[in-house]
């Protein structure tokens, strides 16, 4: 069994697969101080009643309530939403793009799952 699900944070690219050296960034001393280390949150917005929440972006916040308040200010300034979900990015688990081939392969040859597979006479209505 391939490892289809991997603990894989959003935007977190493992060093060995990054296509290069991840660590070569700033050589300056860190800014430091509290607040430089607030966790990252993913934001999901329901644009209107009856629709799904949709991922819109991410932001840093000290806790969930602050994340929601910041999301309100950043992502709903023009009435884009009526409901906000936030989840700390580290709790998002994602499928692995390298395994996409095997993961979705079972669906590829099952065309009989689609209505267009069935050839019916034109006289058949309402179907």
């Amino acid at each position: 069994m391939k490892n289809f699900i991997r603990k894989f944070y959003y935007g977190d690219i493992p060093d060995d697969k990054a296509g290069g050296d991840n660590n070569e960034t700033s050589k300056n001393p860190p800014l430091g101080g509290r607040g430089a280390d607030w966790p990252l949150w993913e934001v999901f917005i329901r644009s209107k009643q009856g629709l799904d929440h949709k991922h819109v972006g991410s932001l840093h916040a000290a806790d969930a309530q602050m994340a929601i308040e910041n999301a309100r200010d950043v992502y709903t300034r023009r009435m884009e939403g009526i409901s906000i979900w936030v989840v700390e990015s580290k709790y998002i688990h994602a499928s692995n793009p390298e395994e996409a081939g095997e993961l979705y392969e079972p669906a590829v040859d099952k065309i009989y799952r689609h209505p267009t597979f069935y050839d019916l006479p034109d006289e058949v209505n309402h179907m």
């Binding site: 690219i13 296509g19 700033s26 101080g33 200010d73 793009p97």
Partner: protein
């Protein structure tokens, strides 16, 4: 599976995706240089939004009416939001927010040079909206089709919000252009001062632009600097007529054959000088950003302490 593939194979898969207009997403394999180019460009873009708040923030308390003040606050608030969308996009490439901001403060990362010019009169709020945001929009509309998914999505959101910025700017100038002689002069003066720096926003000539060719191949950029600049001149040369004003370029004229405007040459010495940090406001702008970080420390501490308190309360309940 990936371990068995050579870098050449991976690069080929990557380039095939780009060629077929399939977006690159954060966890996909990408060449190191692609990652770095995107980090450089997106963070530079983010810094521009954030530093870009300063010249306009200068006029919030001096806007001529409550309506104009409310509009200006909304615009500056949008820019803070745009900075955030872009910083978040940048973080998906594996650099932390802290590092990104640190690079701005140390001078390692650049931001658009246009924000190193001072805003001397109220008309500058108009000229910035019309010309500076106008130039930015041309670039950003192109970037909604950039190959890196998170960057493209941030750009779609930004473009939706940005169009009011340009319209409100043009409207400010339109009102001034119908005002007293003094107001008309103020309008023309601001156009004179912002026109050339706005043309510089598109960057060096294609022949001088070191990153351009690779960026086009990777579809990070989809139009060249000179191409975008030409679009901009064509647009503005017509729009300025509605204001009854003039662009400060005596070489500007319509070419019937090419169906484009011809224009004079940018002062590239000035351009490089400002890029290198010697513009009128470079030091002031950077200092304002550093002060914001340092003087905001107590706010961050208070928020962290409050979150801690809230957590303790919830656990006790």
């Amino acid at each position: 599976m990936l371990n068995e593939m050579s870098v050449q194979d991976l690069e080929k898969i990557f380039q095939d995706k780009i060629d077929n207009e399939i977006k690159i997403e954060p966890k996909d394999w990408m060449p190191d240089a692609y990652r770095k180019t995107n980090i450089r460009q997106i963070s530079q873009h983010a810094h521009s939004e954030i530093v870009g708040m300063l010249p306009e923030g200068n006029w919030i308390s001096r806007a001529p009416s409550l309506k104009r003040k409310a509009i200006l606050i909304a615009k500056v608030q949008d820019e803070a939001g745009h900075g955030l969308y872009l910083y978040s996009g940048c973080e998906t490439l594996g650099i932390t927010r802290e590092e990104t901001i640190n690079d701005l403060h140390s001078g390692k990362a650049k931001y658009s040079s246009i924000f190193n010019y001072p805003t001397l009169t109220w008309a500058d709020m108009g000229a910035i909206g019309w010309l500076v945001d106008g130039a930015a929009i041309l670039n950003q509309v192109m970037l909604t089709r950039t190959s890196y998914g998170p960057y493209a999505r941030a750009m779609v959101r930004i473009c939706k919000e940005e169009s009011f910025h340009q319209r409100q700017g043009f409207e400010i100038l339109l009102v001034l252009s119908k005002g007293s002689d003094e107001q008309k002069a103020m309008c023309q003066d601001s156009i004179n001062r912002w026109w050339w720096p706005s043309l510089m926003m598109f960057g060096p000539h294609d022949s001088e632009s070191t990153n351009s060719e690779q960026s086009m191949k990777w579809k990070i950029k989809r139009k060249s600097n000179d191409e975008l600049r030409q679009n901009f001149v064509d647009m503005c040369a017509d729009q300025v007529k509605i204001l009854g004003m003039k662009l400060p370029d005596d070489k500007l004229k319509w070419n019937e054959k090419t169906k484009h405007y011809e224009w004079g040459e940018i002062n590239w010495d000035e351009f490089w000088n400002v890029v290198k940090g010697n513009g009128p406001c470079n030091k002031q702008r950077l200092q304002a950003r550093k002060d914001a970080w340092e003087k905001g420390e107590w706010v961050r501490e208070a928020a962290a302490a409050f979150a801690e308190k809230r957590k303790t309360k919830q656990q006790a309940a």
